[in-house]
């Protein structure tokens, strides 16, 4: 294939439209505000989108498998709060983090079982779980904020390592949250594009009946997708707790599921299943992150910001759908 062929293939790639939209936004922002194109701001954006990105990677698995998970915001809150409470109870770091991840894994498992063997549409099952998990978080914390510091009981050494996970910098430059996002995205990309499990997720989401007839364990594949989502929501929740380092069951992650789904859809995943890429999801997350960052840098009214974010989501998805039509031709 010649250079022209590569260029044509690249222009028709699913992610190209969204990437161009992202470039256009960055270009406009770099012209209209001095602060945007600085290394400090770009690293800030990278850190600010990392937790959303980690969850959006999980959501990509779920959406490709033909399902949806509305409980991610609650899972994010409960897992982070669990780890925070365990550290305050003077647990060691690894067991405390494992506890938080186990919460995410369990929620993912329940979501998966309800949506497959339980025959409850995932939209409904996870909507119910959103409420159940949020309620659990409120019950275990009694609605009180959980703050992880020495005054609350955390051990000095444990606290220092926990804070490094959320607040630290790799090589003194790259925020740890961004490092986690990059690692998660790389692993997810490898899994989706190079493993049997990745192939099966696309097959199950594209046509569940055909996948079943061909002998694929459809329910098991979908449950695994939900577990991946639960684990990644838990990881993001734990990183958030390590960064702040405080959380409150009534507010933490409230409404986050909509941001996660929006970022994933903007990135090209389809609500009807069988479509989506990790690269597209990364671009979708960056579109939302850069937009939020840019609107604040421009000093746009907070009310107008909401309007702009909604419009950009609609336009980005519309561009993707139009270019999808061209790709199909």
């Amino acid at each position: 294939m010649g250079v022209g062929g590569y260029l044509r293939r690249m222009m028709l790639a699913r992610e190209t439209g969204i990437f161009l939209a992202l470039l256009l936004m960055c270009f406009v922002l770099s012209l209209t505000t001095d602060a945007f194109l600085t290394s400090q701001n770009l690293l800030n954006v990278g850190r600010q989108v990392s937790l959303l990105g980690i969850m959006a990677v999980g959501m990509t698995f779920v959406l490709i498998s033909g399902e949806v998970d509305l409980s991610v915001g609650s899972t994010y809150a409960l897992s982070g709060l669990t780890t925070g409470m365990l550290i305050v109870e003077q647990w060691a770091l690894v067991p405390a983090i494992t506890g938080g991840l186990a919460v995410g894994l369990a929620i993912g498992l329940v979501n998966g079982v309800l949506s497959t063997y339980g025959r409850i549409p995932s939209l409904i099952a996870t909507l119910g779980m959103l409420s159940v998990v949020r309620g659990l978080a409120l019950v275990i914390t009694d609605g009180q904020p959980v703050t992880v510091n020495e005054r609350q009981g955390a051990l000095e050494g444990v606290l220092a390592r926990f804070e490094f996970i959320g607040q630290g910098y790799l090589f003194g430059t790259i925020p740890m949250q961004l490092v986690f996002f990059i690692v998660v995205a790389l692993i997810a990309w490898l899994v989706l594009s190079n493993t049997n499990f990745g192939f099966r997720i696309f097959a199950v989401g594209g046509n569940a009946k055909a996948a079943r007839v061909s002998g694929m364990p459809v329910n098991a594949v979908k449950i695994c997708a939900f577990i991946v989502m639960g684990l990644l929501a838990a990881l993001a929740g734990i990183l958030s707790m390590a960064f702040l380092p405080s959380g409150q069951a009534g507010r933490t992650g409230l409404g986050l599921e909509l941001d996660v789904i929006a970022a994933t859809i903007v990135g090209g995943a389809s609500l009807s299943g069988g479509e989506g890429t990790i690269l597209g999801t990364i671009f979708g997350v960056l579109i939302i992150g850069v937009l939020r960052n840019g609107l604040v840098l421009l000093g746009i009214s907070p009310f107008f910001q909401e309007l702009m974010i909604g419009l950009v989501i609609i336009v980005a998805v519309a561009i993707d759908k139009w270019t999808a039509g061209r790709r199909a031709r």
């Binding site: 602060a35 405080s246 421009l298």
Partner: protein, 329 residues
């Protein structure tokens, strides 16, 4: 010393701007003799039956709810009534209305902090028409025919915060205002007061109101972006509990304690720590436990024939000078 000066400023501001709350009723007071009390309630009071007092809070999952609930429980024990703390999870006006409607026939008195002034005023009036006394607490509903209000004058507390900021900046500087919800009535009231007080300092410029959203990560990111967009900022004035510690954390992590002053609200654990470390110069407490207690107490006094009037539960100003009082508690 700056902190001593701060406390003195707070005292002077309170005297200068001392405004009546719910003016007419606050001065005159109301008595059950002038109220068309429902027969069943009058009989219950006459026969010495235990009274059912319902205390509806606008969001039982927020940080304040546990403190207000504690005050309600204390009132229940000390005043020998059945005081029930209730309300929606999340600021949901429909849910608050439904709950009150459901319990209307069993309540001998209602204390309410409204999710929305407009949405709840008709219901409050309906409850009063049914012969049930209604007082407001924490967040007033002046559009309704409520009897009296117990709580902090929000505009006044905003003025105090503004005056404190003026003082810590030595009357010169560039300020951003942060709030979880710029459109909420409590935020508008506090911002009005803060801008009014800061307007008295010609050397102070307010460059932006930052609507941070409610999720803790979102709050921190919003402040981070706003500070990058406005590098000349020397003061962050938070209008509520939750962007106060985030502002303090930003100042602390960026080594900006000498050049960026923070004034905020409430005594979350993280805020207390940051005040004691010097990253937050002053925080204003709302005495939520007392608000819960007084909400019940006013109704009990009213039903027992005492004249009641609006009650300002006051503000507590905490700086590095006196924050130890909270830590000891």
């Amino acid at each position: 010393m700056r902190s001593t000066k701060l406390l003195a400023t707070a005292a002077v501001t309170a005297l200068l701007f001392q405004l009546p709350i719910g003016a007419a009723q606050a001065q005159d007071g109301v008595n059950v003799a002038d109220f068309a009390l429902a027969d069943r309630i009058a009989e219950a009071v006459a026969s010495g039956d235990q009274l059912n007092i319902y205390v509806s809070y606008h969001d039982v999952s927020n940080e304040f709810a546990p403190f207000i609930r504690r005050g309600v429980f204390r009132a229940s024990e000390e005043l020998a009534v059945n005081a029930v703390f209730m309300g929606p999870v999340g600021a949901d006006a429909d849910a608050q209305i439904s709950e009150i409607e459901t319990l209307m026939d069993t309540m001998d008195g209602l204390a309410i902090s409204s999710v929305s002034t407009d949405a709840l005023a008709p219901l409050i009036n309906r409850v009063i028409e049914a012969g049930i006394p209604v007082v407001t607490y924490n967040t007033d509903n002046p559009e309704s025919e409520r009897l009296v209000f117990a709580g902090q004058d929000l505009v006044q507390s905003g003025r105090e915060a503004g005056a404190l900021m003026g003082s810590v900046l030595d009357e010169n500087g560039v300020v951003i205002i942060t709030t979880l919800d710029a459109a909420a009535q409590w935020s508008i009231d506090r911002e009005t007061g803060a801008r009014e007080a800061l307007g008295a300092y010609p050397g102070i410029e307010i460059v932006q109101t930052v609507n941070t959203g409610t999720d803790p990560q979102e709050i921190y990111a919003s402040i981070e972006n706003a500070m990058l967009a406005n590098p000349s900022v020397t003061g962050i004035l938070s209008l509520e509990c939750c962007s106060t510690p985030a502002a303090g954390e930003w100042v602390d992590r960026n080594g900006a304690t000498d050049r960026v002053m923070v004034v905020g609200f409430d005594l979350l654990d993280q805020t207390v720590d940051l005040v004691s470390e010097g990253a937050i110069q002053a925080t204003i407490d709302q005495a939520p436990e007392r608000q819960g207690f007084e909400a019940v107490n006013l109704l009990v006094q009213f039903l027992n024939g005492e004249t009641i009037a609006d009650l300002d539960t006051g503000v507590g100003i905490y700086t590095i000078e006196n924050i130890d009082e909270v830590i000891v508690e």
